[in-house]
C-alpha cells in the first residue's frame, strides 16, 4: 500500500468484518460508509457471504455491485434475485429476519446506556425535532443482533451520557435475550451492554488524550486497550480498486467547501460509473 490508511478506510474495514456473519445485510439509503462496508463484506466473501438488500429498489442480491453515492434503482436490479415492494419488505420480510440480518446505522447521538437517535429537522416553530422512525430504527433494534452503529465523528455531542431524544434502545430485550451494541467510531470500537460500555479496541491513529476527552465515560489511559487491527493489504486493494474506486467513503468526513468539492466530483463521475454497473 503506497497511500496511508485513512480513518474512513480503517472504519470501513472494521465495519465490514462485523457484517460477515450475517445472512443478509441492508445497505441503508443515506449511509455511504455503511454501504461501502456492506459491499466490501459481500465482495470479500463472494457467494458464501451475506446477501445484500439494496434499498434503492428493494432488491436482494449475491452479486454485489460497486459503491455509488447516488442511489440508482437500475444498478440495484443488476444481478438481483428478487425485487420487493417497500411495504412487502418492511412488513413481511424484514420482521422475520431476527438474528439473521445486520445493518450499520449512522447515529446522530448514541449514549452509554444504548439510547439512539438518528436525525433532526427544523420545525416551522424554529425548534429542532427528532424524527421517530428513520430507517425503521425501532423495528431494526429488535431484529439486528448485534445492533451495529457508527459515528464518523465521535465527540461529546454524538457519544453522550444521555441522548436528547431516544428513538430506540436496542438493549431493551422483549424476549429475554442478551443484547449488545457494537459502535465503530473514528477513534475506537466499543461494545455497549446492560453492564455499560467497554472499549474493544482503539484505532492505531488515535491519540490517547483526545480519545479520553471525546469519550463519555472514564478512560484509564494507564490500561492500554488493544489496538484495532491494521487493514490487510488485500482488503485495501479490494476496497480502493473494486468496491469504492470513486471514494464515496470520504463524504461522511468532509464538511464545508471540501464536501461540496467532493460532491461535485462524484456527480461528474458517477453517471458513467453507474451506467457501467448497470450494464455489467
Amino acid at each position: 500500500m503506497d497511500e496511508p490508511v485513512t480513518i474512513a478506510e480503517q472504519m470501513v474495514i472494521s465495519m465490514s468484518h462485523l457484517l460477515e456473519q450475517a445472512e443478509l445485510v441492508q445497505l441503508g439509503l443515506m449511509s455511504p460508509l455503511a454501504q461501502v462496508a456492506a459491499l466490501l463484506s459481500a465482495h470479500r466473501r463472494g457467494d458464501t457471504g451475506p446477501a445484500i438488500e439494496d434499498p434503492s429498489a428493494f432488491t436482494v442480491s449475491w452479486a454485489p455491485r460497486s459503491a455509488a453515492l447516488t442511489c440508482s434503482d437500475v444498478a440495484a436490479q443488476q444481478g438481483s434475485v428478487r425485487q420487493f415492494e417497500a411495504d412487502e419488505w418492511v412488513a413481511r420480510i424484514m420482521g422475520n429476519m431476527t438474528g439473521r440480518m445486520r445493518q450499520f446505522i449512522r447515529a446522530a447521538q448514541i449514549d452509554i446506556t444504548g439510547g439512539i437517535n438518528t436525525l433532526y429537522l427544523p420545525g416551522r416553530d424554529g425548534k429542532r425535532r427528532r424524527i421517530a422512525g428513520l430507517a425503521g430504527l425501532a423495528e431494526l433494534a429488535d431484529i439486528a443482533r448485534p445492533f451495529l452503529v457508527y459515528l464518523p465523528l465521535q465527540d461529546k455531542r454524538t457519544f453522550v451520557q444521555r441522548v436528547e431524544f431516544e428513538v430506540c434502545n436496542p438493549l431493551d430485550s422483549h424476549d429475554g435475550s442478551d443484547r449488545q451494541i457494537i459502535l465503530v467510531s473514528d477513534l475506537a470500537v466499543f461494545r455497549i451492554t446492560r453492564k455499560g460500555p467497554e472499549i474493544l479496541s482503539v484505532h492505531p491513529s488515535t491519540d490517547p488524550g483526545e480519545f479520553a476527552a471525546r469519550t463519555p465515560f472514564a478512560v484509564d489511559l494507564q490500561t492500554i486497550p488493544p489496538q484495532t487491527p491494521q487493514p490487510e493489504p488485500a482488503d485495501m486493494e479490494l476496497l480502493r480498486k473494486v468496491v469504492d474506486p470513486l471514494n464515496i467513503r470520504d463524504i461522511e468526513f468532509a464538511s464545508g467547501a471540501a464536501r461540496t468539492k467532493l460532491l461535485d466530483r462524484l456527480i461528474e463521475q458517477e453517471p458513467g460509473f453507474v451506467e457501467k454497473i448497470a450494464g455489467s
Binding site: S56, V74, Q83, A86, V90, G133, L134, P271, V274
Partner: protein, 264 residues
C-alpha cells in the same frame, strides 16, 4: 359515469380534483418516480395542499414547502439524501411523524378496511411521545399492550408511472416503492405517465396498477424530473444539487427556468 375505456383527463381537471382533497399521498421512493411534474403544476396553479402523505419526502415535498403550497407533511423521512436539506425544509415544516411501520401499517389498515393495525408497543415508544393521537389496546388473547395504529386513507394518491394505457393500466418502471399500497389505501388515484399507450398488454407491458385501481390518467412526459423514471431517464443529480443549494426565495425563479412538463 366515468368512461371505463378512457380515463385520460386534462391537466386542469386533475388539478380541480386535487384541490378538493384534504389528504394527498405522493408515490415514488428516494430519487425515483416522484410526481414532481404534477407538484409543479400544483404550485403554478396556486393550490395549497392541507396534508401530504409520503414515505420518503424529498425534492417534491421540498418544492411544496418552499412555495408555501403545503400545510403538513406526514412521513418517516425528509431530506435530499447526500445533498442534505433543501430550501423548503430549511424554512421549516409542520410534520406528523411516522415510523416506517406506522405509516405502512396505517396505509395497510386503510387498504384492508380495518379500524386499526396493532403493533408492538416497544416499536412505537418514541412515536408515542410525539403523537398524542395514538391509543394503546390490550390484546384480548395474550394480554400484551399494543399500539392501535389508525388507518391512513388518503383522499387522493398521485403516482408517476413509466407508461400507462388509456384504461389506467400502469407500469411503474424501476423501483416499485409502496405505490400499489398507496393506490389501495387512497379513495382516488391519479396516474401521471411518461408514455401514454393504447393497450399496455398489447406491447408486452406488465401492469403494476390495474385499470380498476386507477381513477384518472394524465399524460405528463418528464413528470418525475428532477428525480428519475426508469427506463426513460435517471435522476438529474446536478439539478438536485443545484436545487438543494437554493435560498428558499430563489425557488420560484429556479422552477421558472425549467419548463413545466406538459402533455407530449
Amino acid at each position: 359515469m366515468a368512461d371505463q375505456q378512457n380515463k385520460l383527463i386534462a391537466l386542469d381537471e386533475s388539478l380541480a380534483r386535487i384541490a378538493q382533497a384534504r389528504q394527498i399521498a405522493l408515490g415514488g421512493w428516494s430519487m425515483s418516480r416522484k410526481p414532481c411534474g404534477m407538484i409543479r403544476h400544483i404550485i403554478a396553479a396556486g393550490l395549497r395542499l392541507p396534508e401530504v402523505v409520503i414515505l420518503t419526502a424529498g425534492v417534491e415535498t421540498d418544492m411544496l414547502l418552499a412555495a408555501g403550497a403545503v400545510d403538513r407533511v406526514r412521513t418517516f423521512y425528509f431530506g435530499l439524501e447526500a445533498f442534505g436539506m433543501g430550501p423548503g425544509q430549511r424554512r421549516g415544516a409542520d410534520m406528523i411523524e411516522e415510523t416506517e411501520s406506522s405509516l405502512l401499517f396505517g396505509l395497510q389498515a386503510a387498504a384492508q378496511g380495518q379500524p386499526f393495525h396493532a403493533v408492538a408497543r416497544h416499536h412505537c415508544r418514541a412515536l408515542l411521545t410525539l403523537r398524542a393521537d395514538l391509543e394503546t389496546i390490550t390484546c384480548p388473547y395474550g394480554g400484551d399492550e399494543y399500539v392501535a395504529l389508525p388507518p391512513i386513507a388518503p383522499d387522493l394518491a398521485i403516482i408517476h408511472a413509466w407508461r400507462c394505457d388509456r384504461r389506467g393500466n400502469a407500469e411503474f418502471g424501476g423501483t416499485l416503492a409502496a405505490d400499489r399500497l398507496l393506490a389501495a389505501a387512497a379513495r382516488e388515484t391519479i396516474v401521471t405517465c411518461e408514455e401514454l399507450v393504447d393497450d399496455l398488454a398489447a406491447i408486452g407491458g406488465q401492469a403494476d396498477l390495474i385499470a380498476p385501481q386507477t381513477s384518472a390518467v394524465v399524460h405528463l412526459p418528464n413528470g418525475a424530473w428532477p428525480t428519475g423514471c426508469e427506463p426513460r431517464y435517471r435522476p438529474d443529480w446536478k439539478g438536485l444539487r443545484d436545487y438543494a443549494q437554493l435560498d428558499p426565495d430563489a425557488v420560484p425563479a429556479w422552477l421558472d427556468r425549467h419548463p413545466l412538463p406538459t402533455k407530449g
